[in-house]
Symmetry: C2
Subunit: 423 residues, 2 copies
């Protein structure tokens, strides 16, 4: 099944917002093996939206269009689709009642212009789900289909998952189930991960590309590791699940300590900070952090996870050297050292009455410090007086990358220590 993605909005053409919707949809389509050869962005102009939809329909079986479904004058995607379908728009009274109920439920006043969101091209239907205040549209055009989704990212995603994806899979007509399992890896780089998996990659390459054989895909994510996604397709869910579990078992054995989390693909659930908070919560332990070059970024990442307060007590940001000695009891001497990191981790455990302490000290740049170049970072994990330290080398990377990688590697060091895994 061949798909195209169209993003509608003049603000995209003016460069006022980044089009993350197309990227997200593209990844979802790729996951389910649907080809996508073109993505187009077009402004809030009826003729040009129509032209873009017609071109996309000429090249693909399915067109997913995001944006322009709202209640304002600018929102003309539903009219453009009606024109492409050569049908009028018709107000759906049942849908109107549902939209009104939704406004009422959220305590928002329903104004007349919102009624336009109940207009549906004749022959099309609204999605069952409503995210925000309006549904998406499923619009047949001959043998092909246009799916229209709102431009607000969370609404778009919710409607895609609830209504569009199931409809696409049904329409593709292969009575197969696709399931996937992702292994989130940290530590080795992408080529080292590939080398560990080589036996399985070669075996799968040699196997026939038919239903029943799993596939393995690599997805690097922004400084929070490498995702190894295994996908299996089979006639029924039970069989697909069996294929998946067998392959996951083999991949896990090869990847070993590189795996820090696994399960359904969910980048938020599997963030290193979320993983270490769960590990500590299971053990009933509390955490505190002592930061220098990260300036609070380690704590900020931990507390981005809802429910962090069960584990995280707080931290001390000792940016100036004398704060390290006065508040954390670091003895005089060079501050970019594993000894200092160890003192900071132990100190913050003591001062904040936490079971576990994390610490990072190093040079984010742009200037060297104590003769140490930007990118050299010392980290420590303390379980009371049991401290592990390590020096990381991120030289030649930009300041912000050094800070992000520092936190990621510190979380990885903590999960390895908890699980008794080697570095």
């Amino acid at each position: 099944m061949r798909c195209e993605i169209v993003a509608v909005g003049t603000e995209l053409l003016l460069g006022q917002i980044v089009d993350t919707n197309s990227t997200w949809l593209a990844e979802r389509l790729a996951t389910f093996g649907m080809d996508c050869y073109f993505q187009t962005r077009v402004g809030d102009n009826l003729a040009r939206i129509e032209q873009t939809l017609r071109l996309a329909l000429s090249r693909a079986d399915v067109v997913i269009v995001c944006g322009g479904l709202g209640p304002t004058q600018d929102d003309i995607t539903r009219q453009a689709i009606a024109n492409v379908m050569s049908v009028p728009l018709q107000r759906d009274p049942t849908l109107l009642a549902r939209i009104k109920a939704m406004f009422h439920q959220r305590g928002r006043p329903f104004t007349d212009n919102n009624a336009a969101q109940a207009d549906v091209p004749v022959g099309a239907r609204a999605t069952e789900a409503i995210a925000g205040t309006a549904p998406g549209l499923i619009c047949p055009v001959g043998e092909k289909h246009i799916y229209a989704l709102p431009g607000v990212p969370w609404e778009m995603r919710a409607l895609f998952e609830a209504d569009v994806l199931p409809d696409l899979l049904l329409r593709r007509g292969d009575a197969t189930t696709i399931v996937s399992h992702t292994l989130y890896c940290l530590g080795p780089g992408e080529s080292a991960i590939a080398a560990r998996l080589a036996p399985r990659l070669q075996a799968l390459d040699a196997a026939p590309k038919t239903t029943g054989n799993p596939t393995i895909a690599f997805l690097a994510s922004d400084f929070s590791g490498i995702r190894v996604r295994i996908t299996a397709k089979a006639a029924d869910a039970e069989k697909a699940r069996q294929v998946l579990e067998k392959e996951a078992y083999e991949a896990r054995a090869l990847l070993g300590d590189a795996v820090f989390s696994e399960g359904e693909d969910d980048p938020v659930y599997h963030l290193p900070e979320a993983v270490v908070l769960r590990l500590l919560a299971e053990r009933g332990q509390t955490l505190a952090v002592a930061e220098s070059l990260t300036g609070g970024g380690i704590g900020a990442r931990l507390t981005s996870v809802a429910g962090a307060s069960r584990v995280f007590r707080g931290g001390i940001v000792a940016y100036a050297s004398d704060v390290k000695s006065e508040l954390l009891g670091v003895p005089p001497g060079p501050v970019i050292s594993e000894e200092t990191a160890a003192h900071m981790a132990r100190g913050v455990c003591r001062v904040l009455h936490a079971d576990v302490g994390l610490a990072a000290t190093g040079v984010a740049g742009p200037d060297s410090q104590e003769g140490v170049p930007p990118g050299i970072v010392c980290i420590a994990v303390a379980f009371g007086d049991d401290v592990t330290t390590r020096t990381l080398n991120f030289t030649n990377r930009p300041r912000e990358q050094i800070r992000i990688l520092t936190a990621t590697f510190l979380f990885d060091m903590l999960r390895r220590k908890i699980r008794g895994q080697s570095e």
Copy 2:
């Protein structure tokens, strides 16, 4: 002049990376008043790149294509352009020598496949500038032009600014200079900013759209305020600068205390955290932060600014309530209150020996705390014992937005206090 943007790369179609290049280019083109009605993304496929370029050329005067200029098998943009121009590629020996010199200078080995980067369609020319290791291409197609740029963002931007933009302005043929000045605003929302500026917006709307009259554009940025950009176009730089200064003077008078920074458009330089660090550095004052719901995010933003160490001493992340009392001297009582914020701000000044203290306490959610709903946040700025507090209402916003807005409003409160501006 009508432009189109084409981004090349299969990784874009698989959703593995977000296409920020098109967004950046779109904003630059809009700034200089060049229309852009379509943006397309296409994979590393010769026929489809050709098809996309031909379509774009049929609709626009200028096509800017990013990506696919590198040295690997996948990099076929130059071949696609040669096909569209109906000419062969020819290796340019002078360019080859320049590329080799560039490799040598950066201490990178020159391999044979890199020589392909000196291939130029007959009739086209390489950009003067080389960013990374390869130039861009300026390719005439009849009366129209294709500009090819590398896909690596910093290389793309450098070549666009150095060679493509001047060429576009020259080609547009208006012997005018365009200059712009941006007022960065925080406090009032977008509609309130528009209301303040209404007199000037109406006057400019009524004025003839000719050279010599400035324009005003609004650009909302992600939780760090609203940018009001004034652009002036005139026959020479001196005249344009005069028009700009006059309009900026009038806009500044209307916007008043909403303006927290201004100058050339540079989102990093004008970040609220960068502005307050500069204000404090000018006064020779030091800063410390006491954080609760932000978990370290305020400190992380301050230390994302290179050179923050001249002002920022550090902070205390008092996530658990007893850390607030033990380390910051907050008396017992509800922790979501302006009184607590004030105690935290004063406390962190004292404990970290800083001149100025910032503090935030509140509910990020998802659950209520002390009967206070998510989104209620109390902030404080202390200059020693002189403390200002405020309660912010971000209810019904997601957790991460509440945390980001808290930091932004706290920085804004600090700059208002320093400058003696009202809230």
